[in-house]
């Protein structure tokens, strides 16, 4: 199938999905719509983690911090000016920013850019590290961001959090952002930069010998990753309608690690699927948190907290027995889809045969 057809198919698919998002906006009840929105937001952040972890091979755990930056920019600048006195009741807002109000889209972009700037500053000391060191250092910086936010009370309202953010529970809006992210990341990965990222992932020394500027490319991947994490975080804050430093503990990053592991490290469509499975799964598992009675007998296992135990066991099972995830490093393509539709049984058999 040639490239033109591919593009047409993808465009049609995106339009159909947008239609689905419109239908979701008007047809679904508030709870399901919220879950769908959360899926898309998690997909954005999963993709952002995928850029640096999956494609560039640099294990970063800083996503929660970048999300916090994006969410706080949305929180600080979209709350209507007249409500601010009520929100910042403990310490008045810093006069520098007290009168600035932005529409959501602008706040998202500013949040993403700010996150990318912070990533650039952090990247200087951090990106010289490898493997576990990098993981712990990025995790540390994500905590520092959170601590700074907690302490900069006149800007962020500190530990009280920001309430009264105009809620954005609009599936169409979030879908558009998600689609833009998808298209951008796909284009990035298929460009020469993307190939350089993959080369760094496979072998840093060989990549350097081939003339790839390691630091520049790592920093770029890290900044793009932070940008989209910031945008996703901004949407997350707007969806919740409130931001609070406790929402952005570094354990939040583990959700996205699970998403990319489940979807397959280094697969864009995989992490989309991973996001849907993880978010949907976490919601579905909520039944385990509620007391369950069978024939009038309460089953003692079912009580709050059981959901997260199952979730973490699933994560472990995934890592231990299913390391490649759903897609491995493969991508969804229309050719494969066509083959699959024509002969579903033979497709899986052939797939196993090849690899």
């Amino acid at each position: 199938m040639d490239k033109k057809k591919n593009i047409i198919f993808t465009t049609v698919a995106l339009i159909v999905l947008f239609g689905a998002a419109c239908a979701a906006q008007f047809g679904l009840d508030a709870y399901l719509r919220r879950v769908a929105n959360l899926c898309m937001i998690y997909a954005i952040i999963g993709l952002s983690l995928q850029i640096v972890n999956g494609f560039c091979g640099q294990f970063s755990l800083g996503q929660a911090g970048f999300m916090a930056i994006g969410a706080y920019v949305v929180g600080v600048f979209t709350v209507p000016v007249e409500l601010r006195e009520k929100v910042f009741y403990a310490v008045p807002m810093n006069p520098l920013i007290a009168d600035i109000q932005m529409p959501v889209w602008l706040a998202l972009i500013v949040g993403g850019l700010l996150a990318a700037l912070v990533a650039f500053l952090i990247g200087f000391p951090v990106l010289r590290l490898h493997g576990d060191y990098l993981a712990i250092a990025t995790l540390g910086f994500s905590e520092i961001i959170r601590i700074v936010i907690t302490n900069a009370q006149s800007f962020t309202n500190g530990a009280l959090g920001i309430k009264d953010i105009p809620p954005l529970n609009d599936a169409r809006y979030i879908f558009v952002v998600c689609a833009i992210t998808y298209i951008f990341v796909t284009a990035l990965i298929n460009s020469s930069y993307g190939r350089a990222f993959k080369a760094i992932r496979e072998d840093e020394i060989a990549a350097e010998a081939m003339g790839i500027d390691l630091f520049k490319h790592k920093c770029m991947a890290f900044m793009f990753s932070a940008f989209f994490a910031g945008v996703g975080g901004g949407l997350y804050g707007a969806l919740l309608g409130t931001v609070d430093p406790k929402n952005f503990l570094f354990t939040l990053t583990y959700n996205f690690v699970l998403i990319i592991v489940l979807g397959g490290m280094g697969s864009i469509t995989g992490s989309m699927l991973g996001a849907i499975l993880v978010t949907g799964g976490l919601e579905f598992l909520r039944v385990f948190d509620e007391p369950l009675e069978v024939f009038g007998m309460a089953i003692p296992l079912f009580r709050p907290g059981f959901r997260m135990v199952i979730f973490s066991i699933l994560l472990m099972v995934c890592v231990l027995f299913w390391r490649k995830g759903i897609m491995g490093t493969e991508e969804f393509t229309w050719e494969k889809f066509k083959k699959f539709v024509k002969n579903p049984v033979g497709y899986w058999k052939g797939d196993e045969h090849h690899g």
Binding site: T150, Y254, G305, S312
Partner: protein, 309 residues
């Protein structure tokens, strides 16, 4: 925040309050050191961050709580029981979460370690509840004593002594026994050690036993000193202890102790001298980490390594 308030505490600081802060700092530093040794030993041999170590500390606190409070066992018997139970837990984690991935890419092992830590936290949250429990009061250890004008708990004096004893035993094991020799060999070169007939799996298990036992001792004293126990109690200290291990030079036991003291003392003294910065207390460790990694990427006592193609 202006500089006058920032430096206010300097002029208020007296010798007695300085000593007071030093005592607190040294006891905190010793606790960090005990836990950091576990991180550094596992890293030295398996080249991975044992993220679950922090949660092993947390579980040890709960074991102690159950031993003393629920089963009414005397605390010194409980301490031994806690050490055994925690060592078993450490080995079980290694068997289930790390051994199957011995030959897997490093990122998989890292994710598995994160998963193990996440599982332990959620398990504790589910079984013991999220409400903080109060570590049972041990009147001998928790009694207040005063030396001159410096007032402290008896446990604060015990902690450094226990650390020194543990360290001496550990260094003896590592430097003067056959097992210790095997451990050093494995951390130097995994493959060659295996070829020379070292039972790798056994050595790794022993490493986990030692690391977890030290974590158990540290956790017990942590509980006496800071009595609120929650499922997430280990997370922050665990991160700081890993940082202590990195700062000292990972894989190096003395380095871990030095790192532990730097972080413990630094954290207490910074808050003592600059009370205005007390909100940034937890950020201190990460600042130290980034400064050290920037200037000396292998840590204070770490060996220089070159990357081989």
């Amino acid at each position: 925040m202006d500089f006058a308030t920032l430096f206010q505490a300097f002029s208020d600081m007296t010798f007695v309050s300085f000593c007071q802060h030093m005592v607190n700092g040294i006891s905190l530093g010793s606790l960090y050191a005990l836990i950091a040794i576990g991180y550094t030993m596992v890293y030295g041999i398996l080249l991975m961050i044992n993220f679950a170590h922090a949660d092993i500390v947390m579980m040890a606190c709960y074991f102690a709580f159950f031993g003393i409070r629920i089963f009414q066992i005397p605390w010194f018997v409980t301490l031994i029981g806690v050490i055994v139970a925690t060592a078993v837990l450490g080995v079980v984690i290694e068997r289930c979460a790390y051994r199957p991935l011995r030959d897997a890419p490093k990122n998989s092992v890292l994710i598995s370690a994160i998963g193990a830590s996440f599982l332990l936290e959620n398990f504790a949250n589910y079984v013991f509840g999220g409400r903080p429990l109060r570590f049972p009061k041990i009147s001998l250890l928790a009694q207040n004593i005063s030396i001159g004008d410096v007032r402290t708990q008896f446990i604060c004096l015990c902690i450094p002594v226990v650390l020194v004893v543990c360290l001496m035993v550990l260094l003896h094991i590592i430097n003067h026994t056959k097992t210790g020799m095997a451990m050093r060999a494995v951390s130097k070169d995994y493959e060659i050690a295996r070829v020379m007939g070292v039972d790798i799996d056994k050595i790794i298990s022993i490493t986990f036993v030692i690391g977890s036992s030290l974590a158990a001792i540290g956790a017990f004293m942590w509980g006496v000193r800071y009595p609120g126990i929650t499922p997430y109690l280990g997370v922050m200290p665990g991160l700081k202890c890993f940082i202590a291990a990195v700062v000292g030079g990972i894989g190096n036991i003395k380095g871990a102790v030095i790192g532990g003291f730097i972080l413990g003392l630094g954290e207490v003294l910074i808050v003592a001298f600059f009370p205005a910065l007390s909100g940034y207390r937890d950020a201190f460790a990460f600042m130290v980490l980034s400064i050290i990694l920037f200037y000396k990427p292998t840590g204070l006592l770490g060996e220089k390594t070159t990357e081989k193609v």
